[in-house]
């Protein structure tokens, strides 16, 4: 063969036409291959596993009803004891159950997988009698072994999320099996609110978990809840189907299938509701509420068990160490106006305390600070700041509803009483680092204290004692009252101690108590009996859909 190079011709492997043909063929084949479903949806590890085709809408109570739920982010974390992420709360509530249930409206601890419990005389051993006849979605029995395997996982692996934090706070030491339906959970120290922790830990099936391990369980989650996982397209949708073998706790599941989709962008989520692609959307921006109603759709909302406060740093040598200055800020902020004009009515004012109404320990006798800018100015003058003062103000981004607008309004209100604020917009991770890790908060910080799923005052009040970096100026009385409440097993007496604590706290005003954050939903009228709850999730019991 003639040597092309020696003849001066280029050594081309392909001609232009051959390359174009090859390219088009490869591109076409690639496009067809790419259009195929990628990473086939995970089927649930149940006896009847397999994908279930979406069912057409039917009348209430029918077997083929489907409810489509739009949430802010795809529910990609279904191992609730490993990763307790809020996008998945609604799915957790449907799929999993705990030993006890904290009532979302009364704060009362009610039996769930444990039918009763008591603390023994040593005050560290909690003995629980378990429900019998409960099945997991994969057919396994719920029993003492399930409880032990679940809590042992937390104690051994210490996953860095809320369930283990709670267990660690409770100083849980070990779990002992007494018999098939009786266990003992032993703590290192008395922890009076231990039953409240039960709701934070979702019970896993012993055999399945032992077989697949934590990572395997994250891929194949199984619970005892009213719904089981049937399809899981990570990043796209999560589909649950009614579990016919449910043991009957709580209300009835009347909808056959639940489909959860993540819509990170607010405008897209709202559009999905308007286009009737979603039946319920969570996290409806208040600004879009009227537009939703104009389309013949409904808006429902609830105050969350999340207290939005202006946290004041009293640790540094700052004006806020002076109680008069802190009270001045409390009088100088018009919370009613914030709720009405910025939150557009979606929010509930905190009543002079950091506890929302649905949390155990809420004091019904306290009143919020009234808006009184003249009194605020007088207090500042009495504190020696008659000429005003300047404070740095940290706000995180993208975390709370309308946080930028609320805080700009707060800055404006404070300016009227002579308090100039320098707002710093921080990315959430930087904000957390500064506030919780380095312990170097700026004088003012806007934050929401969560109480779900525990719904108890003890999950926030310890931040307001002298040993806490958030309120080192706390008077000894507050330290003593909290310590007493944490040692008091009598529920009524404990409640009284907490009430006394909150009364002192109101006077001390370590934070400006603003409002409970709202959870706003857009709802298609075909959805019946939807009751929003303050725990940042949706509960589907007794809910139906009509045609």
């Amino acid at each position: 063969m003639k040597n092309q190079e020696s003849s001066g011709q280029p050594n081309i492997l392909l001609t232009r036409r051959e390359f174009i043909k090859l390219g088009l063929t490869a591109g076409g084949a690639g496009l067809i291959a790419a259009c195929a479903p990628v990473g086939a949806p995970v089927a649930a590890p149940t006896a009847s596993s397999g994908q279930v085709a979406p069912s057409p809408v039917a009348t209430a109570g029918a077997d083929t009803s489907v409810l489509k739920v739009g949430i802010g982010e795809s529910a990609d974390w279904l191992s609730p004891n490993m990763t307790n992420r809020s996008p998945s709360f609604s799915v957790y509530y449907a799929m999993f159950e705990s030993l006890a249930w904290n009532d979302r409206f009364t704060g009362e601890v009610k039996p769930m997988l444990a039918k009763s419990w008591k603390v023994l005389d040593d005050k560290v051993t909690w003995e629980l009698d378990l429900q019998e006849g409960v099945k997991f979605h994969n057919g396994e029995d719920f029993d003492a072994e399930s409880v032990k395997v679940t809590f042992d996982y937390l104690l051994n692996d210490k996953p860095p999320d809320t369930p283990y934090q709670r267990v660690q706070t409770a100083t849980l030491d070990r779990v002992e099996i007494v018999d098939k339906y009786k266990v003992r959970l032993i703590t290192q120290k008395p922890y009076v609110i231990f039953p409240r922790i039960f709701n934070e830990v979702y019970i896993y099936p012993a055999k399945h978990f032992a077989k697949v391990g934590p990572e395997g369980f994250a891929a194949e989650p199984v619970g005892t809840g009213k719904y089981r996982l049937t399809q899981w397209d990570k990043g796209v949708k999560t589909v649950l189907e009614k579990f016919d073998g449910h043991w009957g706790w709580g209300g009835k599941a009347l909808i056959n299938q639940l489909e959860f989709r993540g819509y990170p962008e607010d405008a897209t989520r709202v559009a999905a509701l308007k286009a009737r692609e979603a039946d319920i959307i969570q996290g409806l921006p208040p600004d879009d509420a009227e537009g939703i109603k104009a389309e013949g759709l409904n808006v429902q909302w609830t105050p969350l068990a999340q207290a939005m406060v202006l946290l004041m740093d009293t640790k540094q040598d700052s004006p806020l160490k002076n109680k008069l200055v802190r009270q001045a800020l409390s009088y100088g902020i018009d919370v009613d106006s914030l709720i009405k004009n910025v939150m557009l009515g979606y929010g509930e004012k905190l009543n002079g305390q950091v506890l929302p109404k649905s949390v155990f320990g809420y004091n019904p006798n306290l009143q919020p600070y009234p808006y009184d800018p003249d009194k605020a100015k007088q207090l500042l003058k009495d504190a020696g700041f008659g000429d005003g003062l300047s404070l740095d103000f940290d706000i995180s981004q993208g975390r709370y509803t309308k946080q930028k607008e609320v805080n700009e309004a707060i800055a404006g209100q404070l300016a009227k009483i002579g308090v100039k604020t320098n707002i710093n917009l921080l990315e959430w991770g930087v904000f957390v680092d500064k506030l919780f890790v380095k312990g170097t908060p700026t004088p003012l910080n806007y934050i929401g204290w969560n109480y779900f799923s525990a719904f108890d005052a003890d999950f926030v009040l310890p931040r307001y004692v002298s040993t806490s970096p958030f309120f080192p100026a706390a008077p000894k009385q507050m330290d003593d009252l909290l310590a007493q409440s944490e040692a008091e097993f009598d529920v009524k007496k404990r409640e009284q101690l907490i009430h006394q604590f909150t009364e002192v706290m109101r006077d001390e005003a370590p934070s400006v108590f603003l409002f409970q954050a709202p959870d706003v939903f857009g709802v298609n009228p075909r959805v019946q009996n939807f009751k929003p709850t303050p725990d940042n999730g949706i509960h589907f019991e007794e809910m139906t859909v009509t045609t």
Partner: protein
């Protein structure tokens, strides 16, 4: 020739190691993932414990060496947020990004070639001005705004297409259209400039003086010579797209790499961020290589040189 490819491979490997090192250091400058994981529950003792669990208590150079060794085993580490191997999460999302990139670019190619050539041929006329305005608008239009507009029109008002997600072939149309609008603008302007330059060359004047008609001049001679910059920009754009079109993916809830990467940065999910950047670097290198391979096919003079 083999020496050329060997050198090229070695250079690519060095670049990859440098990119890995750079992203390794940069993500650790973002902040403490332990703090973010623990959030409001962070206590000093727990922070120390979690950092140890995550291997973050080691000196950075030790962590880097361990990471390189695990990379050689194909282990990109475990996602802090998901609790599963980072590469699995990426493998689940990456094909979606490839699909969106291919369709988005594909939808942009033909219109931009037509518009670019037309604008060049009609240079200086009202049509050219109009096409320039359209191309500039396409580039200037925020993808966020365009995406939402398309959803409102085609999904909410007309109920023709889904708002978002990845359920069917229809789901890709709106996000792909959003992407293509930006690229049509960019590609049109590049091709127009390139064709104009070629049409001013001596050999084109010679072809005209020989009596060749304009269509033959354009399609048989000019376009082939003007296409090189166009191919370069298309290749580079594709490589960039493989890193994920974050805004488009967010607006359309398209489960791709872009949105995953942003979430991972926000969550300080080191493993996922590193995996995304390394895979993207490889993709860009592959795209550059593909473009380099295309050059001699398009222009044999390059092969001779």
């Amino acid at each position: 020739m083999s020496t050329y490819w060997a050198k090229r491979f070695l250079r690519s490997l060095i670049i990859l190691i440098l990119v890995t090192g750079l992203v390794f250091v940069l993500v650790r400058l973002l902040g403490d993932p332990a703090a973010l994981l623990l959030g409001q529950n962070a206590t000093p003792e727990r922070l120390v414990e979690v950092r140890k669990q995550l291997g973050l208590d080691q000196p950075m150079w030790v962590q880097f060496v361990q990471y390189l060794m695990s990379l050689m085993r194909g282990d990109f580490g475990k996602s802090l947020a998901y609790g599963t191997p980072a590469i699995e999460i990426l493998a689940n999302r990456f094909p979606n990004t490839v699909l969106l990139s291919v369709v988005g670019l594909g939808l942009a190619l033909i219109p931009s070639i037509v518009l670019g050539v037309l604008a060049a041929v009609k240079r200086g006329t009202a049509l050219d001005s109009f096409l320039l305005a359209v191309a500039t608008l396409g580039q200037a239009m925020p993808s966020f705004w365009l995406g939402i507009m398309l959803i409102l029109i085609f999904s909410v008002q007309l109920r023709l297409l889904p708002t978002s997600g990845k359920d069917s072939i229809q789901s890709i149309l709106l996000p792909a259209l959003t992407l293509s609008a930006i690229f049509v603008g960019r590609f049109t302007l590049i091709l127009r400039a390139s064709v104009i330059e070629v049409l001013q060359q001596d050999y084109v004047r010679t072809a005209r003086s020989k009596g060749l008609n304009e269509r033959a001049i354009l399609f048989r001679h000019a376009l082939a010579n003007a296409i090189l910059p166009f191919v370069t920009i298309v290749g580079m754009s594709f490589g960039q797209l493989l890193g994920g079109a974050v805004i488009t993916e967010t607006v359309f809830a398209w489960p791709g790499v872009g949105f995953l990467a942003v979430q991972a940065v926000n969550n300080r999910d080191f493993s996922v961020v590193q995996a995304c950047v390394i895979v993207l670097a490889v993709c860009i290198m592959v795209c550059n290589l593909a473009v380099d391979l295309l050059y001699p096919v398009i222009d044999p003079r390059i092969a001779r040189a």
